[in-house]
Subunit: 319 residues, 2 copies
């Protein structure tokens, strides 16, 4: 079965891609074999991150970008991530509607992901799904995520270029946007630019970019879009190409991807070590004895941690 | 110096307590020796968590509880945690004002903590400061934290009894309160109960508690308070005593503290293992070779993680 899924992904079988993604979401044990096997086929997709507050118009923007990219013959994958929702129900309905539009277009693949279990899990799963879509042959993978906190900053880290979408609406005022979100922007979009206050939003972003006065190698452009009539989407597309060109020619793309590999390895090691520790420690007689000795103040958690560490066998780590 | 701090804490020297807390906030290496040495003197303090949205009136509530607890001759420590603020500046100013009130009262110790570095760090530091105040001889330690997300749910986990403070203001409507925050409540407070909408807020909470229809061993009471004139604070105090009595007589207090010890040990082990891995891996020749082989697709992160795990020496973990 694993072999069939692996071959399916590489040979462009949508059903096998969907199967692999489900295994990833379920944290199935087969997932690592699959990801390891498809890895040689990855590294070709360009990953685009789009983040912004709920209602900023990210989905419409992604849909219009999709049309542009498709016209150039590019194969596109979209991962819509909502870290605030433990249910993908709503998002799946949204998917269906969006899928219909692109139903006859086999070169487009759209998938929603919500939080199952912890946020770290969602960020890990998103990264793995990018790999799957990359090996599947997508030229561009778009991660669309609701920007509300630390979690989607973690998710968007896997993007080569990150677009932050704002609107002139008061609640989206630049001052209220989390600093972390602003720092990750390579391109700003002021969507719904026909609403009053668009000029102010643009100048607020601009002022913020000039704060500190340091010379930037890349100054994030600010693009105005109106998704209702599609205006500005062409300009956004050009800004994305500019940023990609900047990353490639400056060697920063290579450097960023290398850094991502470093973090990936360390994350994997930590994850494996944590699972192994938990499996060996949880419920073991030594552990429970230490817990009761701590409760009676005969020893303390620090001494207990050191003692347990001595007895943990990391050689038992499954590959 | 460490010995002086340790003895100072146990003998009730405020200056040494402050010194120890600073070491904890700075993640100084001495911190573990201190925490380990004072551990036998801990376990006596009852830990009270108070969480709620900004502006809900938590600080006033805590101040009035302080007066009540002091009247009974109890020694009280307060840790005011603001996970949203990387600066403790504002909070420190607030502290000074509050400290003046209790300035002549040596039995009260108030300290603010903001985010330095990551949120996990803040939660760890809060836990450590509880230990310090416990060994310092406080009968009650109050953690006051702004309730806005996952981070303060993690922080409040160290409380024996958790109070969730709501107000009748529309923004605090029960529907908008994060589910995670609702689940941790042992006692609800509807503060500013003289405002319109208080009845509705109380009945919303009540309805929410009855959702699912399952019989609860402890049904969180809903207490109305008006901090302006102190009304309801006595009732809150009785609700807290009731919950403590419930926890003690049912054996749940012991059980919860045991679970906390389990989690503490595992957290400590994971933290130590992660630091050790990072120290051995980061920048090592083997690691960098693997990174470049992954970049050229000769190997993959999964294989690399397994290979590195084999070579990591956990015996090198410092005690």
């Amino acid at each position: 079965m694993q072999q069939k899924i692996i071959e399916g992904i590489i040979n462009g079988d949508r059903r096998m891609v969907a199967r692999a993604i489900s295994l990833i979401e379920d944290e199935a044990s087969e997932k690592e074999t699959i990801l390891s096997a498809i890895f040689p086929y990855t590294g070709k997709a360009y990953c685009l991150g789009i983040t912004g507050a709920p209602g900023a118009g990210k989905s419409s923007l992604v849909d219009q970008l999709l049309v542009l990219l498709r016209r150039q013959g590019l194969r596109v994958g979209v991962i819509a991530v909502d870290p605030t929702s433990p249910f993908t129900g709503g998002a799946i309905l949204g998917d269906r509607i969006r899928m219909q539009e692109h139903a006859l277009d086999k070169a487009v693949f759209i998938r929603s992901m919500g939080t199952r279990g912890n946020l770290g899990g969602l960020s890990r799963a998103t990264k793995d799904v990018i790999q799957i879509l990359d090996a599947f042959g997508k030229d561009v993978v778009i991660i669309e995520t609701v920007g509300v906190g630390q979690s989607e900053v973690d998710i968007i880290k896997y993007a080569d270029t990150t677009v932050v979408v704002l609107t002139p609406a008061s609640g989206d005022s630049v001052q209220t946007i989390k600093a972390g979100i602003m720092e990750i922007a390579d391109v700003f979009v002021v969507n719904k630019a026909d609403l009053p206050g668009a000029d102010r939003t643009v100048s607020e972003i601009s002022m913020m970019l000039d704060l500190g006065g340091k010379k930037r190698a890349w100054r994030p452009p600010i693009v105005r879009t109106i998704t209702l009539d599609g205006s500005g989407v062409g300009e956004l597309h050009r800004a994305l190409l500019d940023h990609r060109e900047y990353l490639t020619s400056s060697g920063r793309l290579e450097k960023a991807r290398e850094d991502r590999v470093r973090r990936d390895i360390v994350d994997l090691i930590e994850y494996k070590v944590k699972s192994t520790i938990w499996r060996q420690v949880s419920g073991s007689a030594e552990f429970e004895l230490l817990v009761s000795r701590i409760m009676s103040r005969e020893t303390d958690p620090y001494a207990a941690a050191v003692q347990i560490l001595r007895s943990i066998n990391l050689n038992g780590l499954s590959p």
